[in-house]
């Protein structure tokens, strides 16, 4: 690995709307650093992932070192460090879903898009070449009564079968 520092060419800025949201939530905490997770969520909503420019900006906003931001980003699986598909598919793979054949759903998606399951350090292998979908395994989504479940972006889909999954995926623009 080289010791050449990255030069950030385009600094990150919040959109006006997100800046307002940030200005609102930063007041909730006696310590700025505490706004880390909501701020990162907000930034990821805007750019799709946590780029170095985002990390620099968030570090400056929250008055922490940029490493503290990186540290947090890598700890929490919901933050991505590289671009992901327009739709992030999280297939719950924990025991109650496993007892309800989540494996069939997962395998079906893999075959349908000819992709692998993405890992936290390699999102590309689980992303379709058109950049539309990223497939992730997820830990328990707390919907075990309607297993198997899949989360696509912010929406939860319940009682899935490969066929139902197909219909849902095909309906996504």
């Amino acid at each position: 690995m080289s010791n050449e520092l990255i030069q950030i060419e385009t600094p990150f800025q919040f959109s006006d709307e997100n800046q307002q949201e940030f200005d609102r939530l930063i007041q909730w905490y006696p310590v700025k650093e505490a706004a880390m997770l909501p701020t990162l969520h907000l930034a990821q909503k805007q750019v799709g992932y946590i780029s170095p420019a985002v990390m620099e900006h968030v570090a400056a906003l929250l008055e922490v070192s940029v490493m503290k931001v990186k540290d947090v980003v890598t700890f929490y699986p919901m933050f991505f460090e590289e671009p992901v598909g327009k739709y992030v598919i999280r297939v719950c793979y924990t025991l109650p879903c496993a007892l309800r054949d989540c494996k069939l759903v997962l395998e079906h998606i893999k075959q349908k898009f000819e992709i692998d399951v993405a890992s936290e350090t390699d999102l590309a292998k689980g992303t379709t070449s058109d950049g539309k979908f990223t497939l992730l395994k997820s830990e328990c989504l707390a919907s075990c009564d309607v297993a198997p479940v899949v989360m696509i972006n912010d929406d939860l889909y319940k009682n899935l079968t490969p066929q139902k999954m197909d219909e849902i995926l095909d309906s996504l623009e």
Partner: protein, 552 residues
């Protein structure tokens, strides 16, 4: 003071002491990795588990607590009279029970599951806590047959390399950068068994920051294993082939306590040594990496004299003869003697004696390195005065602010003098026009130095002195601590210890000096110099003595 039962010992320790320190004070080792007395205590390595005892009402007696506790976070305090254990103890703890021993074995097994067996080529081998504690407390076998994690080797900054495979994630280095230097370059990436120490990087591994603060080298010292290594020392020597002396860093007037690792061919490494009131556990990289000049091939090895505008080698006898002749001829009023803020108290004391008692001059001054910048960190300060002994030299030469040839007055004083004896010893010192003109205007200039420096080049006679690593003596830091430096390596070529040169000159000029070692001079200093009554080498020892005058 708390009265505690530690294994089978009954001992007293200060309130608030943790079990690791209480044990250490009583000669008992409690193995630990993440705990460092200079940092906060995350209790994450779990190596220091000990067995506290508690009163168990149903049994009506004191029994081992159900859970083992970490020795780093368990502190002892004086208990109220009705809460004493067994009627008299404030705390009862065992560090040697079967449960504790078993826990240590278990933790060590976990620590070693991903650790490579590259001890033969590891820099830390021989001074590795993982080796030592495995030897003392481990089971000697591993049941781990799965694939080991192999995280990459990483370049963290100008002097620090990380062999991630060896890392046990104790986070001492992260806490150092958060708490002591306050620079926060280090952190963890990923989670669980994939945890790695790193600097911030983008997704492709290119850094956003480097570990380049001026205290960065300390993370290598506090790394309990061979994960963080210094590029400066990497693969240079096995620790057991080096010898070590205690000394004081000559880099600035803080006077960090250090150890000097050396072999016959020179210095290999400088590391900080604990001093509660001066540097705690730390030192800066300027001091740590600043020793290379000692080993330099360019060191002055023999006396030189000016012949037809060029410095040519000569013998000690010749050089001293020339100087004696010139000084004897000179009017005392035209002689200036300039001591060195790089020199020891002993040298400067003799120099002052030479000036006043033998040469009969009061034109006495002080020379040293140019001031640098002050650097303040949350728990450490690097002084702007880049000399180790400005305060001591002033005390020894008895300089007062009005008449001393020091600071701005130095060059004017030299310009007014005809015959000048200047002791330098600074690793580097560039001269501006004023300084050059002043030195050039002298009739006869003797420079005692360690390099053919800018100053030396203007001299009529150059005498090869030695560095801090080649002599004994004492420095007085800015806060008034008098501390010892020790001879580690021999002077190069024919270079001589500075106080011996001064003594020889004094003798030739008719003075009465007959010292045999630096400590003898220190004893005289203790008798003659105000506030230095305790500054004999014996009393200074490894911890130093604070001047009677206190801060100032």
């Amino acid at each position: 003071m708390a009265f505690i039962k530690l294994n089978d010992l009954e001992v007293e320790v200060e309130d608030g002491t943790n079990i690791i320190e209480a044990a250490r004070q009583n000669g008992i080792e409690v193995p630990h990795y993440c705990y460092h007395p200079g940092l906060t205590r995350p209790a994450n390595c779990r190596m220091c588990l000990v067995e506290p005892h508690v009163f168990f009402p149903p049994a009506g007696q004191v029994v081992p607590d159900r859970q083992l506790a970490t020795g780093c976070t368990t502190t002892v305090r004086t208990a109220p009279p009705d809460r004493k254990l067994d009627g008299k103890y404030d705390f009862i703890v065992r560090t040697d029970s079967p449960r504790v021993k078993q826990a240590r074995e278990d933790i060590l097994e976990f620590l070693l599951v991903h650790h490579p067996l590259d001890c033969p080529v590891c820099d830390q081998a021989g001074e590795c806590d993982l080796q030592d504690f495995s030897f003392n407390h481990g089971s000697g076998k591993s049941r781990y047959i799965e694939v080991k994690n192999v995280p990459p080797k990483k370049d963290l900054g100008p002097d620090v390399l990380l062999y991630s495979t060896r890392c046990i994630v104790c986070t001492r280095c992260i806490r150092f950068c958060d708490e002591v230097s306050g620079t926060g370059e280090l952190g963890l990436i990923h989670r669980g068994s994939h945890d790695e120490i790193d600097i911030p990087r983008d997704h492709n591994g290119s850094p956003l920051r480097l570990l380049d603060n001026k205290l960065a080298g300390n993370v290598v010292d506090i790394c309990p294993v061979g994960a963080l290594t210094s590029k400066d020392f990497l693969f240079k020597s096995r620790p057991w082939f080096m010898k070590q002396v205690n000394s004081v860093c000559p880099g600035c007037s803080v006077g960090c306590n250090i150890t000097v690792d050396y072999k016959e061919d020179g210095l290999y490494r400088i590391q900080p040594r604990f001093h509660e009131d001066i540097n705690q556990h730390w030192m800066c990289d300027d001091g740590r990496l600043g020793y290379h000049y000692v080993n330099s091939e360019d060191r002055l090895k023999i006396p030189m004299k000016q012949v037809d505008g060029e410095l040519v080698p000569t013998s000690w006898a010749d050089a001293l003869n020339i100087i004696t002749e010139k000084f004897s001829e000179a009017d005392p009023g035209s002689i200036a003697v300039i001591g060195s803020a790089q020199g020891t108290n002993e040298e400067n004391y003799l120099l002052g004696k030479l000036a006043r008692e033998v040469l009969k001059t009061e034109s006495i001054g002080l020379f040293g390195r140019e001031p640098g910048e002050e650097h303040k960190f949350p728990q450490f300060t690097i002084d702007a005065d880049k000399n180790p002994n400005t305060r001591g030299a002033r005390d020894m030469l008895r300089l007062d602010d009005e008449t001393a040839l020091a600071g701005d007055a130095l060059w004017g004083g030299i310009a007014n003098a005809k015959v000048v004896y200047l002791v330098s010893g600074a690793p580097e010192r560039s001269l501006d026009d004023t300084a050059k003109k002043a030195l050039e205007s002298t009739d006869f200039l003797v420079v005692q130095d360690i390099f053919e420096s800018d100053v030396a080049q203007l001299a009529d006679v150059v005498l090869p002195g030695v560095t801090f690593a080649e002599k004994d003596g004492s420095f007085t830091n800015a806060k008034g601590w008098v501390q010892r430096i020790h001879h580690a390596v021999d002077p190069p070529g024919e270079a001589r210890t500075d106080w011996e040169i001064i003594q020889q000159l004094a003798k030739r000029l008719g003075g009465e000096m007959d010292y045999h070692f630096a400590g003898e001079i220190a004893m005289e200093i203790a008798e003659n110099v105000p506030d230095y009554q305790d500054a004999t080498h014996q009393k200074i020892g490894d911890g130093g003595v604070k001047l009677a005058g206190g801060d100032g």
